[in-house]
């Protein structure tokens, strides 16, 4: 009878319990401990966006591709190399590469030249990234359509339980955008201090973190550069820092990552700093 346990309790049986590594006390956390000297090596970063131009000098190579297409009944997954339809994916890739130069970039192209099916493609691209074993996902996009609330919520929870942080841009307009409003994701909006490693924590969510996103010099289409403003460009700053943290501390859960980011935010009055 001792074998009988309530559902979902097997992981907590005495002989099944896993011993975990401690993390330092919150007051002892430093940027040096969290990501100092890390290059993001070995961490797979999915950029779910408009594609990436591997030959843009800011991008420095792309390690994997998938382009989602087709209809809801017959989705297609094309893993041959592709380019960036607009420049938006290059911008995100360039920022992440500048912070985590040795991370592995995967371009998940869900934004193309049309409107048809883009919500479905977005969800399918996110599912692909989760199933393909990405370590971090950068989502500088979202959907404001209620139709996608459920499916994106399910995917955000799935990613959370698999310890894959989804770093998601908040809407640039005052309306909720999914999945940025879900508690399971790392949501990001923009600040105007031109320091790529400076980020803030917002004690009054849904948007939890702020990073540089106003007048940011970013990679764009055809090898060009522009200075752009949007939460889209704040998001990859956090994704890049997360990639560096994960190189040094693989296996962190999403809630541990958020705790570390919260502890190291520039607006936290730290003891002795």
């Amino acid at each position: 009878m001792s074998q009988l346990r309530p559902a979902w309790s097997a992981a907590f049986a005495t002989d099944a319990l896993q011993t975990l590594h401690p993390i330092p006390g919150l007051d002892d956390l430093t940027p040096e401990w969290a990501w100092g000297s890390s290059t993001g090596a070995g961490v797979k970063v999915a950029i779910i966006d408009s594609g990436i131009d591997a030959d843009h000098p800011a991008v420095g190579g792309v390690q994997g591709y998938v382009q989602i297409g087709g209809t809801p009944e017959a989705l297609t997954y094309d893993e041959s190399p592709h380019g960036d339809a607009y420049g938006h994916g290059n911008a995100c890739a360039g920022i992440i590469r500048s912070l985590a130069p040795e991370c592995e970039l995967y371009s998940v192209k869900v934004l193309g030249a049309g409107l048809t099916g883009k919500g479905i493609h977005f969800a399918a691209g996110l599912r692909w990234a989760i199933e393909a074993g990405m370590d971090v996902c950068n989502l500088s996009l979202g959907s404001t359509k209620q139709d996608f609330f459920g499916i994106l919520h399910e995917l955000a929870d799935l990613a959370y339980f698999r310890h894959i942080p989804l770093v998601v841009a908040a809407n640039n307009l005052p309306a909720p955008s999914f999945p940025s409003t879900y508690a399971a994701v790392v949501s990001v909006a923009a600040h105007d201090v031109p320091d790529p490693e400076r980020f803030y924590y917002n004690p009054d969510p849904p948007v939890e973190f702020g990073a540089h996103g106003i007048d940011v010099r970013v990679a764009w289409q055809g090898g060009s550069w522009i200075t752009a403003t949007g939460n889209s460009f704040a998001t990859p700053h956090i994704a890049g820092i997360v990639a560096r943290i994960l190189t040094k501390h693989p296996g962190l859960t999403v809630f541990q990552l958020k705790t570390i980011l919260r502890a190291l935010a520039a607006n936290v009055a730290r003891v002795g700093v």
Partner: protein, 296 residues
């Protein structure tokens, strides 16, 4: 008075004049904004009156008003408005204001093109501040309107969760870039404008349908299925709305009469033309209730 004191008084007077000029400019702009806002409000409320079938020119005027108001409130030297043709997956360039506006003709571009295309596809606003510094940016739509702006702010026009177009402002006055406040303000404005554009477009499609039906009455070659297709296309474009259902049933009634034969068709046409002629001579374009009983 010493030279020093004189200089001081002069500087003070200059400062006062500058301050007054600034105040006048501020008031002038406010007045301008209020006049435009009033005009826009009128246009918006007109667009909301589905029973009024206006000429297409008022639709264009509404689009112009949207760009003019946005440019005046935000402070931009030029602006443009694009609507999306979902079937063709293209942006239709509708109106422009600014230095090169007169030279610009209506044109279409694929959605996968430039800042406006990105905003249309992502539904997210975006601001760019050094657009003219890089010649490789020539692919942007701003260049297609014959204008090389220093800064761009583009926001989506949204109606019922759907992006229906893009409002783009070019060259922020007095600054190198549009601010995050500008993005928020223009974003809110575009949400209101999107609804007005959608309503106005529906009204225009209704006008097109009715004129198509009436025009078809004089054309022996127009097949009934043509009209049915037209009515079907129209119905696809609007959500279920009692006002449009009325119009559709009127259209199908006319079509039914016309399909009976030449004499029936001509009689129907004569009747409708006579009634339309009477309506045109009425002193006011008010509603049925107030208009019919009034005589001069």
């Amino acid at each position: 008075m010493s030279a020093g004191a004189e200089d001081g008084a002069l500087a003070e007077a200059r400062a006062t004049i500058a301050q007054q000029a600034e105040e006048i400019e501020r008031l002038r702009r406010r007045l301008g904004e209020e006049r435009l806002a009033e005009e826009l409000r009128d246009a918006l409320s007109l667009a909301g009156t589905a029973a009024v079938i206006a000429a297409p020119v008022s639709h264009t005027r509404l689009l112009e008003l949207i760009v003019e108001t946005a440019a005046a409130v935000i402070g931009a030297r030029a602006g443009a408005l694009f609507l999306i043709d979902e079937a063709a997956q293209e942006l239709i360039f509708e109106v422009a204001i600014g230095p090169k506006a007169a030279e610009v003709k209506k044109f279409r571009v694929p959605l996968g093109h430039g800042i406006a295309g990105l905003v249309a596809v992502s539904g997210q606003p975006m601001a760019v501040s050094d657009a003219s510094n890089d010649p490789r940016q020539a692919a942007d739509i701003a260049r297609d309107v014959g204008y090389a702006p220093g800064s761009i702010l583009a926001v989506p026009l949204v109606a019922e969760e759907r992006v229906i177009g893009v409002l783009e402002l070019l060259d922020k006055e007095g600054a190198a870039s549009f601010s995050p406040d500008d993005i928020a303000t223009l974003g809110l404005f575009a949400q209101q404008a999107g609804v007005a554009v959608e309503q106005s477009g529906t009204r225009r499609r209704l006008a097109g349908l009715l004129s198509g039906v009436l025009g078809g009455l004089g054309d022996r070659t127009a097949s009934p299925s043509d009209l049915q297709d037209r009515a079907g296309a129209f119905a696809d474009g609007v959500e279920v709305d009692p006002a449009y259902e009325d119009a559709l049933s009127l259209a199908s009634l006319v079509q039914e009469i016309a399909s009976q034969g030449d004499r029936e068709r001509m009689a129907c046409r004569a009747l409708l033309e006579g009634f339309a002629g009477y309506l045109r001579t009425r002193p006011t374009a008010g509603s049925w209730g107030t208009g019919l009983g009034e005589a001069r």
